[in-house]
Each structure stands twice: as C-alpha cells, then as structure tokens.
Symmetry: C2
Subunit: 123 residues, 2 copies
DNA sequence: GTGCGATATGTTTCGTGGAACATATCTGAA
DNA sequence: TTCAGATATGTTCCACGAAACATATCGCAC
C-alpha cells in the first residue's frame, strides 16, 4: 500500500512473557484510534474487522494497569473511542523502540540487503 | 523452556518486501545447524519437524545470492549440513540487529514493563 | 419515539500453516 | 551388500485464528 517494498522493514514485537505482547498490529490500531477517535474507523482503515479490532483493544486494556482506550456508546455520532494518557504513552514507547531499533540496526540491515539475491521475477 | 518469562523479550523480523524475511525462527535454525552440523538435529532441538526445517532452509538458500547452508547426503553418519560463509555472515548480522535493538530499546521496554498490570494469576 | 452511527458480543464458516505420516535416496563403513 | 543415519519430498489431516455473519445496545439529535 504505502510501504516501499525495496526498503527493508523492521517488524518488532515486545513480548512480556505470559502477560502479553505488543507488536505492529496493536500499535497501528492504537494509532488509528488516536487519529480517528473510533475503533471501527481505525479497523476499517487497516482492513480489519471491527470485531478483531475490538478484541485487540480488549486484550490491550487488560494487559496494562490502566486501560489504553476508553469507549463511549451512543450519543452524537454514535459514540467513539479515545486513547487515554496511558494509551498515548504506550504507543509512544513502542514507536520509540521501533525507531531506536531501526537506527541501531541500520548498518546490518543494509549489509543484509546487499546479500539478497537479485529479484527473480518482477511479477 | 530457557527463557525467563519475567524479562521482556524482543522478537525482531527483518522484512525485505517481496524478497522474503528473516526472523527468530530461521535465525535459531541456522544457529542450530552451525552447532549440530545437521538440519535434522537442529530441527529436533527446537521441536520442529525435519520437513519444516528443511523448507525454511530452502527458502533461505533461495533468498540470498549464495546458499547459507550446504548439505551432504549419505556417507559416514548419513550426511549433514553446514553453514557457508554467507550463512555465518547472515546469522551474525541478524544477531547484531537483535542485540542493537535490545540495547537501543532498553529504556522504553523497562518503562513499558512498569506499566503492565500485576500478574493476574501466578499459574 | 424514531433513526443513526458507533460500541458490544455471540455464532458459524473457512482457509491456511503446520503436524503427522510415508517413502525415497544417498554413500561411507563394517 | 547390507546397514546406518542423514537429506529429500510428497500427501493427508487437523487445529486454530480470522473472516463473515448476525444481533443487541446505547444515547443524542431531530
């Protein structure tokens, strides 16, 4: 979609043992909610069913000591969802890990990329 | 198995667009082959079927401009597999990315860990 | 009090990755 | 010339997660 297939991408998942984990999916979802103010809209944007988005948010909320997303039902516009302070914090921390890792691994990744076989078939 | 569930772990996957990707699974497999000199033994060690291990090695070999693993059939001991120079190089680069990311994200991850909910059930 | 738009959940269907199973093949050693 | 132990591959089966489908609920606006 909007990602350059020629540039290596780093997908990072932080695993907290049995307590859960957070990766690109949940992060992007939080991001979408922050931008749209709606679980449904965020899910739609990334081609994810409302149900799945809702479930992910549920696990995220249960995972931290305070919910990351608060929801409102009914009302003008039908309701909506917003990131709590903790929500913004967690998202920022995750993005920080991503950015730091990308920078720290820049050299190795470039070298790795150079070792790849030339594209076998341009489709 | 040997991973401390209390300490957050970073799982990193380097994605090269359509050309493939490398993550913990393939890296550990390469590692096992380097240590055991056998695809089968490496697979066994990580509870992976020989077939799956063999397939992963196949995609890895096809992914880079030179094979990462060379195999020998028959002979004393039935055969075996060893990492090529490129194989060692790729593994080292991936481990480097992992290490760099872990170090770079140390702060954020610790903070994230502090935001987790207290364990709900000690099992 | 009806409609709208979003959250909230349950149920069922379905595709896919992996496990399990089954062989075939290779070659040095005994 | 048989055996051992590893690579090499195809086929079938099944669990699990996600998608699809189906409702229910909420509350402001009109």
């Amino acid at each position: 979609m909007s990602d350059d297939p020629h540039h290596p991408r780093l997908r990072i998942r932080v695993v907290f043992g049995e307590r859960g984990m957070i990766g690109p999916g949940k992060a992007d979802l939080l991001d979408g909610i922050a931008r749209h103010g709606s679980i449904a809209a965020a899910g739609r944007e990334m081609g994810m069913s409302y149900k799945r988005a809702w479930e992910l948010i549920g696990t995220l909320n249960a995972m931290f000591h305070a919910p990351l997303v608060t929801r409102t039902r009914g009302g003008a516009g039908g309701g909506g969802a917003v990131l709590t302070e903790t929500g913004h914090e967690v998202l920022a921390l995750y993005r920080g890990v991503e950015a730091g890792a990308a920078e720290a691994g820049e050299r190795q990744i470039a070298t790795l990329r150079g070792l790849l076989r030339d594209i076998p078939d341009g489709k």
